[in-house]
Symmetry: C2
Subunit: 675 residues, 2 copies
Amino acid sequence: MTDTPRGYRGDGHLVDLLARAGVARTVDEVRALVAGVLAAPPAVDPDAWLVLVGEGLPAELAEQLQALKADLADRRPAAGPDHAGRLAAVRGAMARLGLDGFVVPRADEHQGEYVPPRAQRLAWLTGFTGSAGLAVVTKDRAAMFVDGRYTLQVRHEVPETLYAYRHLVDDPLADWVAEALPAGARLGYDPWLHTVGWVEKTRAGLERAGIELVAASANPVDAVWQGQPPAPLAPVVAHDLAFAGASAVDKRAQVAAKLERDGVGAAVLTQPDSIAWLLNLRGGDVACTPLPLSFATVRDDGAVDLFIDRRKLAPGVEAHLGNQVAVRAPEEFGAALDELGRGGRKVLADPATTAAWITDRLAAAGARVARDADPCALPKACKNAVELDGTRRAHRRDGVAMARFLAWLSGAAPAGAVSELEAAERLLAFRQEGERFRDVSFETISGAGPNGAIVHYRVSPETNRRLEPGSLYLIDSGAQYLDGTTDVTRTVAIGTPTDEMRERFTLVLKGHIAVSTARFPRGTTGSQLDALARLPLWQAGLDYDHGTGHGVGSYLSVHEGPQRISKVPNTVALQEGMILSNEPGYYKTGGYGIRIENLIVVQPAEMPQAERPMLGFEVLTLVPIDRALIAPGLMTAAELDWVDAYHARVRGALSPLLDGPAGAWLAAATESLVR
Amino acid sequence: MTDTPRGYRGDGHLVDLLARAGVARTVDEVRALVAGVLAAPPAVDPDAWLVLVGEGLPAELAEQLQALKADLADRRPAAGPDHAGRLAAVRGAMARLGLDGFVVPRADEHQGEYVPPRAQRLAWLTGFTGSAGLAVVTKDRAAMFVDGRYTLQVRHEVPETLYAYRHLVDDPLADWVAEALPAGARLGYDPWLHTVGWVEKTRAGLERAGIELVAASANPVDAVWQGQPPAPLAPVVAHDLAFAGASAVDKRAQVAAKLERDGVGAAVLTQPDSIAWLLNLRGGDVACTPLPLSFATVRDDGAVDLFIDRRKLAPGVEAHLGNQVAVRAPEEFGAALDELGRGGRKVLADPATTAAWITDRLAAAGARVARDADPCALPKACKNAVELDGTRRAHRRDGVAMARFLAWLSGAAPAGAVSELEAAERLLAFRQEGERFRDVSFETISGAGPNGAIVHYRVSPETNRRLEPGSLYLIDSGAQYLDGTTDVTRTVAIGTPTDEMRERFTLVLKGHIAVSTARFPRGTTGSQLDALARLPLWQAGLDYDHGTGHGVGSYLSVHEGPQRISKVPNTVALQEGMILSNEPGYYKTGGYGIRIENLIVVQPAEMPQAERPMLGFEVLTLVPIDRALIAPGLMTAAELDWVDAYHARVRGALSPLLDGPAGAWLAAATESLVR
């Protein structure tokens, strides 16, 4: 692509260019494709999508396609009616569907963390942009349910004249609905957007008030959303065996064997990252996570039906998939579930993530639905040696970027001239220089002073703060590299910290070290380890309101299961090769936030004297921990040794790759605490 | 009762005595009553049961009743056929019921820990006396399923010529059955002896093999068991408000309010200890736990139907129960469930403990069965101030008995002359001297050397060992006092321990101290704390295969829920007033066993600087920990301080109650470790 594309010269010209290049597509088809590309986030390589039109396109055609894309991006429809108008329109559609109320969740059909523009119904309707929430609309009332993270944000984004605010967890949906609707009323929901578990729980809750929960035949939001974007179309490519470490053939055989062992005829896969792992595919349909949105079924003989818009498959992908994987149109999914269920076949569907529409359809087709965990989740979580080598290399590159960033910060910040936004941009620039960098793995949290105490803070021009002397700065960020996914948080003293800051940072660090150094027998779960991270804070009457660790994918989602370190009960044992974050924190509202996060991987512990097989963690992240914030007097000798050994390792890994000021900074930042 | 009762002088004489005393009972009635008394364990007061015949009986009648009892005890029927004969008889009964197989569990109708002689069907059939297990019998095969605790014991007790041995957890029942029975076969179970959860799981497991699990219309064991004892009849008495701290009226109101809040019309109570708590009743139908076997229902208006054999109610109990509690015959229970379920009423039944017979009957009657926790479990677990004062007093008496025992042991054991049995008997004798002592709270574990490494060891004349110099001795025991239930384990060095013994004892102690000293925010569960007890062992490659702590009742079951400290996920938060054990251990098979157990109670933590409400533990148990087994070099200063402070507290509480050698022993046993 040239830097200054000429303008779009019209459909007639495009027809000529397509014909001359031998591309058998109509202009309407190309326009629809480009609209889909625009509904996906921008890619690292802005020309990558052109392969979806054809390989090796002539320069002039490529240029006109980019010009068309730019043209369409400019012409995206105006916002349409305001929130009051949208609410009124949805109420009209609701009434036409015979519903007295309707539930609008934030989720899409995959219950995913990132939802494409097409599925951002809650944001379109209410203005709310948080990552969890739900609106309920009746003829004359409406309520917005959000959790503790968003109680402030919802007031800014969602007009209180239109919506009552409720707590997503503490205020039962049923209570509000029972007040808003009379007995006998019909509350609708879109069965594509809720799990069967949600439907059952909500139905039971509404029963007492005599309100019926009914699957709507159509989504009233979709019915009235003018200019609703199409489904995203980012190129789907094969994930190289050199990164994946196991072929899709082997993975399908592994999953099929598990299904056969469990007496399950087939499984429905609704999680795009499970499908991406199983078939060694990557895509770009949503932000931060390289996955193609799709559904699939896998049978106990290893055959897979992949339901995906064929237009987004890059050339060669079908060959990569092979003849045991049938690519089918998303529209055929329902009929395929009918086939699958016939004859009372046992079909697995994960109740935590499968849309009620799917389990309803399976049951209607006669399937015995086995509610069990996604069969890809566990093998995906246990990384193979190739994936682990990849992630170690990725972490070294990520450590270089972080060290260059922290070195820069140490020079620039004390003068008080750096802002949260600028810092995040600098870090991104350093990361982008790294080999195999594709994207950030989540939106960077760059929080200065009191903003650091907001656990899910996202910097915006409105909230942007300068990093001030005497304050703490918290940066939580990560990247997607072709060979691994990173996620790291460091808390940095800007100027001189207070004794309280140092004391509390040290308590957090003690918890972080307790997890890092824990040895535990096979069979132990992350839930069992969670308290180790909290105990030093607990003993001081402090705690933090988030989990200690989440699973991390391999060039996939930065948040994956089934393992985690959390006080929420979890029965999945930690197993060799599982990557987790280790991120205890402490947050003083209005003051500062502290979090120390490394990625760690479960490994056998070398203990010749052990009486049973023991596991432990290898630390993947290679970034110095701010020594200025450590109060050595609060630490045991073993804890001080751990910090020194970690810093020596970081220095050994990164110093060959850093010179100049960053090299000097690294040497100072990794000095021993005890010498 | 005189010490030497004269012999029974015949029914004619008894008729006269009854008539003269104005007791309107036939001799047959009295004989049936006495048979029931004999089917209950012996009581502390051997005359207590006489009130069931009448109050203030003339001495001669009382004497003849005791003589009749002695006579009946002597005449208990001979054992009947041997195990092969019994198995053959059960197979015959099975066939007559149209069954191809039958499951014989260890459980009774209440899924209780202690089962009365009448319900010891598994022991009668197979000879197995362990506390968990299950036999499956088919026409030509039979298997005995036991867990890891009983793999040795089962070989001694159950003839291998008749039964295959299988693992209760690792070997799925369905696998063995699928091998033993053809597709289409009918495997029977007694729906009174299994929970609905077991039935559903087992049915699903058998489905693949095409085997049908059917509720048997009668229990084939009962059909052929000659001389099966009757249900036990131990006197049921009111539990004094001075010990209970809350009236039954208040408790019923509390439970009713909870049912009403949850929209539940009624709850079925199948746990005798829940009923005993709710109605402030105590009894003696089973060993070690002062409870009357019974069922009950409680409605959302607080009205209770109590299904109990009226013959066992001591005079005055009906007045104590009041007119909101209807005493009904056990035979009326089914009809009462029908009434309860009528009209689609929502009826709560705890799926973990309710017999399938009950949930089946409710469902057949039209009830909507709400599967939820027993509504008495949580309020029963949270002891009130009166109960806590009582348990503190009980622990002081228990500490005196333990100190006298340990002092005696320290003198007698090093010579090598004390046996496990003698030690247990001595300890019981010391306890019996304590005020308000009623019973042991479980069978004492008295394990010398390698026997201490058997977690659920029960000493018998066959296994009885001497306490040898250079070995460890583990004693785990407890008592039922009217004002509280105790449970304590101490491990004692006999002579000089090895360095390894001291090192491992110290690791166990570090875990014990970690739990004792933990502070944690409200909402924390015992599952979250479990790892604190294990971490010091884990770091050395060691662990123990049992939970860290169980709930303890107030003059009730020594094992109660819903709280526990365990790696098994548990969603019940620890709450003020909950009593738990804290008992990490270490077991070297063939060598020695270590366990250190105190009872602890959840209390608000006094932390003025805390940012959130914090809880911690008060230690109830007052018994020195063997200083000879502590390696101070492995402990932190804080841990040493904890031991010293604990010992100072024990000394302060017990020394006023001990003099002579026991007093001197206490002074030495509680000396500071650091001075």
